[in-house]
């Protein structure tokens, strides 16, 4: 017999959580980058989607106009990168920590916006999605999942002194 049952269960949960988080980030990136018009994907359609996303960010009234375009043009690609990194599982502690930090930032902004009574488009999974209690609950759950994956990634590493993607040494059971 190899790993203990709890160790195996922990690893399964970590894999499921990691993949779930990866899918969420990939969907979020796709929703922002997909053509905003009915035409095919092209450089023009990408520019249109990003300028529409900039409108959503601007409506938050949180960032100065100088930063809106920067965030609108980098965030979807960062989410795409993070989604692919999480999917690969390579050095999990890094993408998991980045995902947690990003989701914590999003959640903070959403709570602030909701508290101010600005019931605006959150733009989390593309435009047209109004910020409300359900979006707060959803993003809160995602943050909890991300934190759990981050803790799991660190725990797995410290438990076996290596990285999550490397197979752990098999403890031998006493005969």
């Amino acid at each position: 017999m190899g790993h203990s049952v709890s160790w195996t269960k922990g690893r399964i949960l970590l894999i499921v959580g990691r993949l779930g988080l990866a899918v969420v980030f990939l969907i979020a990136a796709y929703a922002k980058l997909r053509p905003a018009s009915s035409g095919p994907f092209s450089l023009d359609s990408l520019r249109l989607s990003l300028s529409f996303f900039a409108l959503q960010i601007d409506s938050y009234q949180l960032l100065s106009t100088n930063y809106v375009n920067f965030v609108a043009h980098t965030l979807p690609f960062f989410e795409l990168l993070l989604g692919l990194w999480l999917l690969s599982g390579w050095r999990l502690r890094i993408p998991a920590s980045l995902a947690s930090a990003l989701l914590l930032g999003f959640f903070g902004v959403m709570v602030r916006t909701y508290a101010l009574g600005l019931e605006i488009n959150c733009g989390c999974f593309g435009p047209g999605e109004t910020l409300g209690k359900m979006t707060l609950l959803r993003d809160g759950s995602l943050l909890a999942l991300s934190l759990a994956v981050t803790i799991g990634a660190f725990w797995t590493r410290s438990a076996r002194g290596g990285d999550a993607a490397v197979p752990a040494p098999v403890p031998q059971k006493a005969e």
Partner: protein
């Protein structure tokens, strides 16, 4: 060795299953998003309705409908920061057809009254002047309810007389139901509820049959950027 292979196979199978599951759920979710994003606006743009609360040409490639409340500070922000320069630039050059839609919120004591004055002014072709006066002086009439004062300042005495005539049966809460101008306001509000408009301002930008909903006040810089992208398609 056999143990290691068994464990590796187990993990690989789990990984493949999870990827397949993710692959199955991805198109379903994005399809849902596509529905949200490309939600058809279930009403036609009323281009020939009186009173005229529009700016620019019907044949402009972009139509922007703005559901707003004259007493809402964000609507004022949108008007002052984005719509005013938009009217002077994209509307004047025939690129944008701007449509005002009344969506007075019950939480604002004087917004319905202001909408009545604006509709009365629109009936005599003076909507633009009155809209500007209402937003420019929003803080003042929101405090004391004296909307009429600012309407009078925006119109000539003869125009004001015509507008007052239209407003005869519209003063005060007691007139609810008896004011002919209310039907125009309700028509806009009903159209807004079917979208549904959940806050003011809400703008529906239409280009080549595609609708782009934008909620909240946005800066002219980003509106212009988006319009330039649309027109460059």
């Amino acid at each position: 060795m056999a143990d290691f292979i068994r464990k590796a196979s187990y993990e690989t199978a789990l990984l493949i299953s999870a990827v397949i599951l993710a692959g199955v759920s991805l198109p379903a979710k994005t399809h849902g998003q596509a529905k949200t994003r490309r939600r058809p606006v279930p009403h036609a743009v009323v281009k020939d309705a009186a009173p005229v609360k529009t700016y620019g040409s019907h044949s402009a490639p972009i139509t922007m409908e703005v559901y707003s409340d004259f007493q809402c500070p964000s609507c004022r922000g949108l008007y002052e920061q984005a719509l005013r320069p938009l009217i002077n630039d994209y509307v004047a050059s025939g690129k944008v057809y701007l449509v005002h839609k009344d969506f007075p919120l019950p939480m604002h004591a004087y917004s319905y009254e202001a909408a009545r004055w604006a509709n009365a002014a629109a009936e005599i072709g003076r909507f633009a002047e009155v809209e500007a006066a209402l937003y420019d002086n929003q803080a003042a009439w929101s405090a004391d309810g004296n909307v009429q004062k600012y309407i009078a300042a925006a119109l000539s005495p003869a125009e004001m007389k015509r507008v007052e005539k239209l407003m005869v049966s519209c003063h005060g809460a007691a007139s609810t139901g008896g004011c002919p101008l209310d039907s125009w306001i309700e028509k806009d509000a009903t159209a807004g509820h079917t979208i549904p408009v959940q806050q003011t301002p809400t703008s529906i930008i239409t280009y080549r049959g595609q609708h782009y909903p934008v909620t909240g006040a946005v800066s002219y810089k980003f509106l212009k950027q988006f319009f330039d992208q649309l027109l460059g398609q």
